[in-house]
Symmetry: C2
Subunit: 206 residues, 2 copies
C-alpha cells in the first residue's frame, strides 16, 4: 500500500498513485513524495559531469606521460576535421553549464577567457565552473520553468521558457560537448570507460 | 511587478520571487508559473532527439548514395576501436529512452531485437521507440521522482530514485549514445551541424 500523500506538499499527480500500489517508497522521512526541481535537474548534473571530465583529463595526462607523448597532441585532437578540438570541447562544456545555469538563476554569467593551453589549465577552468555553480540561488532556478529566457544564438538571439531551455538546449548542448571531449580522449587510446563519463553519480549497486 | 502567485498551485519557491521583479512571465493564461515535471524532462527530450537522429541517418543515406559508398561502411564506423559502431549506438540510444521511460512509468519495457543491418531498419527502430514513448502515462512518470527504481547494470543491478535515475543515468546515457551516433556520421564526412543534432526544439529565434 502507498503511504498517505501529504496534500499539495509537492508537484505530484496523485491520480497516478494506483499504478504504484505495492511499490516501495524510500524517500527520506518527512518528504515521502519527492518534488522534481529545475535546480536538481541542472546544478548537480553539471557538477558531476564536469568533475568526471576533470578525471578523464587526469587519465589523459597520465597516458601522455607514460607514452612520452606531447599532451597538446591530445588537446588538439578532433573527432572530425570541422568539429572542435578537445580544448574547445572542454571550454564549451563549461560555458553551457555556467551560462545556462546563470540565465536560469537570473544573473549575468561571468566571462571566462578562452586561453587554456594545458591540461592543468583546463582542469582549473572545470573547477572554476563548478565553484561558480555553487554560488547560484537554487530557489531562483526552481522558479524559472515558465520564465522566458533570451540568450545569444550565433549572430541572433534565441528565446525559450526556462524549462524548455534546460531540457532542450542547455542539457543537450552540455552533454554534446561532454561526450565529444570524452570520445576524443578515448579515441586517442586512453583507457577510459562509461564510468569515467558518468562520474560520481548517486548510484547504489545491489 | 510580478503577477500574483496562486498559492500551492505548482512547485514554485515563492521566496525567490523578488529576484525576478520586473522580468516578463509569458506562461499561458491560467498557469502563470509553470511546473517542472519528470515527464516533460524525459518524453519530449527523447522524441526530439530520436527524430533528430533519424534525420541524421537520412543525410548519411543520401551521402552514401551520392558517393556510391556502401552504407554499411558508415553503419560499422566507430569513434574508437573499443567503442560501439553506429548501428549499436543507435540501438542503445533507443533503449536508454525506451527502458528508462518505461521504468519511470512503472511498466515493463518491450524488448526490441538488435537485428538492424540497414539505415531504413534503424530509422524504423527509432520510429518504433518514439511510438512506444507516446503510450506511456505522463502522470505515472511525474509521480516517480522519489520512487526507488531498480534496473539492470552489467551483471548486477543498480538502484536510484526516479529523479536521480532520470537526471544522472537515463539522460546522460541517452545523450552519450546520441552524440556518439551523430559524431560517427559527421566523422564520415556527412555535412551535418549542431542543428541536426538538436532537432526540432521549441526555440524562438528573435
Amino acid at each position: 500500500m502507498l503511504p498517505p500523500i501529504e496534500p499539495a506538499a509537492h508537484c505530484v499527480q496523485t491520480s497516478a498513485a494506483p499504478a504504484f500500489a505495492g511499490m516501495k517508497f524510500n524517500a527520506p522521512e518527512g518528504s515521502r513524495l519527492m518534488p522534481f526541481t529545475m535546480s536538481q535537474a541542472s546544478l548537480p548534473v553539471f557538477e558531476i559531469g564536469l568533475n568526471a571530465l576533470s578525471g578523464v583529463l587526469d587519465k589523459a595526462a597520465a597516458y601522455a606521460a607514460a607514452k612520452k607523448a606531447d599532451p597538446s597532441v591530445i588537446l588538439n585532437w578532433r573527432l572530425a576535421p570541422d568539429m572542435f578540438a578537445l580544448t574547445r570541447q572542454v571550454q564549451v562544456a563549461c560555458d553551457q553549464a555556467k551560462n545556462g545555469s546563470a540565465r536560469l538563476a537570473g544573473v549575468e554569467p561571468p566571462k571566462f577567457e578562452d586561453n587554456e593551453t594545458t591540461i592543468d589549465q583546463l582542469k582549473e577552468r572545470l573547477a572554476k565552473t563548478v565553484a561558480f555553480l555553487k554560488t547560484l540561488d537554487t530557489k531562483a532556478i526552481d522558479a524559472s520553468a515558465g520564465r522566458e529566457i533570451t540568450f545569444p544564438l550565433g549572430p541572433a538571439k534565441g528565446q525559450m521558457t526556462g524549462a524548455d531551455y534546460l531540457n532542450h538546449f542547455i542539457l543537450s548542448n552540455f552533454y554534446f560537448h561532454l561526450t565529444a571531449a570524452y570520445a576524443i580522449v578515448r579515441a586517442c587510446g586512453v583507457d577510459i570507460g562509461k564510468r569515467d563519463f558518468l562520474g560520481a553519480i548517486p548510484l547504489k549497486r545491489i
